[in-house]
């Protein structure tokens, strides 16, 4: 009965001071809403970066030709011409725990089709390539092992090349000319977008590496070998096996190759992601502090200006405890109400941002919990503590307070 009375008193106080209640709740709503929105945007951006890293392909090991010395002049990595298709075949045949191998030959060429021409990246790959790179074929199909063996003149196109050469028609089945050789288009790759390093990954034509070496570039060596390990834990093991195998194949000559795992290549991206996380944490902490200070101020001011009210209540027979309980109930009601509305606002703003501005957002439950916890604790503490001090006053002093 007594508690219900105090609860009723608290409820009346909130209702009679609608504006003050709304402002207090608003402080909490904005505090929580801002944290949730900002963290969700940051999380979304982070997830996008991570997706780009994943789009590099998974568990990839790349073998590059090493540097070579010629008359005292040393070239950088990737310039020697010591990596051969035999090396790639040996890896495919002898190294365990791998899912795919693709010897790569890279080149830029002018290509013609449909009366249009375009300068693009022409890469020779194996049929494993889309699988290794986690890259789907959206029209047609990838060329086959048979095409590789027969040096078939077939090509798979990236989306940018399709847009440039076949603006309004289905390219599959049509002919593309590379160095004046007609290649039949058998497939179109899915849109992959820009790489982490800023190049357009869709601006590419892929043909069998054998066809590339024999018909297009007329090279005897390959640019690199892509190998996919079966699982992330095996990356280092597979890397070691490849190094052993290639060293063995060199028969005592100085190693002229370099084996790198995707992890090393993707380190840059991981660094970026870490920076994002730090940035995000910083922003979240700042908004929490700002929101918290807002709640604190409103609570402090409202309780201080209510010292006289507390005096009146004490004078007509309220215990200090009753007044405290009332203020505690008020603070809890306001923070809970503000908290719920704040969560809704935060989620709403995130959805709005992702819907209308195309910002990637990802709402993090942790940010909700943290934001609500911090505002609630601050709201209750600063609603409670000044009330406690006022309730400890003699009623006469509280009444005289101006």
């Amino acid at each position: 009965m007594r508690f219900t009375n105090i609860f009723l008193v608290a409820l009346r106080a909130l209702r009679r001071n609608t504006m003050r209640s709304i402002l207090t709740a608003l402080g909490i709503i904005i505090g929580i809403g801002a944290v949730i929105t900002i963290v969700s945007m940051g999380n979304g951006a982070k997830a996008r970066v991570e997706a780009q890293v994943a789009a590099l392909g998974q568990n990839i090991i790349t073998v590059y030709p090493g540097s070579f010395s010629s008359g005292g002049m040393r070239s950088g990595f990737g310039f020697s011409q010591t990596l051969t298709t035999e090396d790639a075949d040996a890896i495919a045949a002898e190294v365990q725990d791998i899912d795919g191998v693709s010897p790569e030959v890279r080149d830029r060429n002018q290509v013609l089709a449909n009366g249009l021409n375009w300068n693009t990246q022409v890469n020779g790959e194996s049929p494993d390539y889309p699988y290794i790179k986690n890259w789907n074929i959206v029209q047609g199909a990838m060329f086959t092992d048979q095409d590789v063996k027969s040096l078939a003149k077939v090509a798979v196109l990236g989306k940018t090349v399709v847009d440039q050469l076949f603006p309004n028609e289905d390219p599959v089945g049509q002919t593309l000319r590379i160095r004046n050789l007609p290649f039949r288009i058998v497939g179109v790759l899915d849109v992959k977008g820009f790489s982490l390093f800023g190049s357009d990954q869709d601006d590419v034509v892929i043909i069998p590496y054998t066809s590339h070496m024999k018909r297009v570039s007329r090279r005897t060596s390959i640019s690199s070998i892509l190998v996919q390990a079966t699982e992330p834990e095996k990356l280092d093991l597979v890397k070691q096996r490849i190094e052993d195998l290639l060293t063995q194949r060199r028969k005592g000559r100085e190693p002229d190759f370099t084996v790198r795992t995707q992890e090393e290549i993707a380190n840059v991206a991981t660094e970026q992601s870490k920076t994002m996380t730090l940035l995000l944490g910083g922003i979240a902490i700042v908004s929490l502090v700002v929101g918290g200070i807002g709640v604190m101020n409103i609570m402090l001011v409202s309780v201080t200006e209510r010292t006289r009210e507390i005096g009146i209540r004490l004078a007509i027979g309220a215990h200090g405890r009753d007044v405290l309980l009332q203020f505690l109930i008020e603070a809890i009601l306001l923070t809970v109400l503000g908290g719920v509305l704040g969560i809704l606002c935060g989620i709403g703003a995130s959805e709005f941002a992702s819907y209308y501005f195309g910002l990637p957002t990802l709402i993090s439950p942790l940010s909700i919990v943290l934001a609500v916890a911090v505002s609630t604790v601050i709201g209750i503490f600063f609603g409670f503590y000044p009330a406690k001090k006022a309730a400890e006053l003699d009623p006469i002093d509280a009444l005289r307070y101006e």
Binding site: M1, N17, R321, D394
Partner: protein
């Protein structure tokens, strides 16, 4: 019959400033049930301090205070709060109503903090309405203090003081913020309550207001210098009609048709 208020050699010394202030220096006083006492005195005579002591809002430095047979001078904070709630009603000079809270809810408030008696919401409401009716404001129950005149606010405060059926109703300069006519109104309410047997103690510095009471106490420098019954007591109804005539003569209000 034992006096309702019985204080013996009570002292109050304020230590807050640089020099201790001896505001009440040994007051001994008995107030019987049904009395209507005015505490009078100049500024600084200690009358408000004595009032706060009587109202259990402040504790005496020395001396004993029996209220309705209970020694309240040694009670602690919460016990004093219960005494204020159950045994005393207090009317302040500045009304001290809760802002943005209806007259009815203001009157209900002491019952909300009531400890011994338990009331249902409906009982609380009925009792508060009854008290508002006593002071003639039943039709203003859902008005907010800022929608009421000073006299009406003070009557709400009186209703709030009555609601827990106190032993003594204390009033600290209840007419201090009111004009002469509403002052007489409020004194009329007090006189009516007193006729019904309610014990009243009020502080005032206005002689003509004190003449509405039955007994006048004069304080000077913290001691009672005079204690006498009121001769030629003013009756609120008479005073009001006299005032009306005077105002009519001065054309302040429309007089009776000539």
């Amino acid at each position: 019959m034992a006096p309702v208020v019985q204080i013996k050699d009570i002292h109050k010394i304020y230590e807050s400033g640089e020099v201790p202030v001896h505001a009440v220096r040994g007051v001994t006083l008995d107030i019987q049930k049904g009395e209507f006492v005015a505490l009078m005195g100049a500024s600084g005579s200690g009358k408000s301090t004595l009032m706060n002591l009587l109202g259990c809002l402040d504790r005496p430095t020395r001396g004993s205070y029996y209220l309705d047979g209970i020694d309240v001078s040694g009670l602690e904070k919460n016990e004093l709060a219960d005494i204020r709630n159950q045994k005393l009603g207090f009317v302040f000079q500045g009304f001290n109503l809760l802002a943005r809270t209806t007259a009815l809810e203001n009157v209900e408030l002491p019952m909300m903090y009531g400890r011994s008696r338990r009331h249902s919401g409906a009982q609380i409401r009925d009792r508060a309405m009854h008290c508002l009716d006593i002071v003639g404001l039943a039709n203003r129950a859902d008005h907010f203090p800022n929608q009421l005149s000073g006299g009406q606010q003070q009557r709400v405060a009186i209703a709030r003081g009555l609601v827990n059926e106190p032993q003594v109703l204390l009033a600290d300069e209840p007419t201090g913020n009111l004009d002469s006519r509403t002052s007489i109104d409020v004194m009329g309410v007090f006189q009516r309550l007193n006729e019904e047997g309610i014990t009243l103690v009020m502080v005032t510095h206005e002689l003509d207001i004190a003449r509405f009471c039955r007994r006048n106490l004069i304080l000077r420098d913290g001691v009672v210098v005079r204690d006498e019954p009121v001769q030629n007591r003013s009756i609120a109804a008479h005073e009001l009609s006299r005032l009306k005539e005077a105002e009519a003569a001065a054309k302040l209000i429309a007089g009776p048709p000539a």
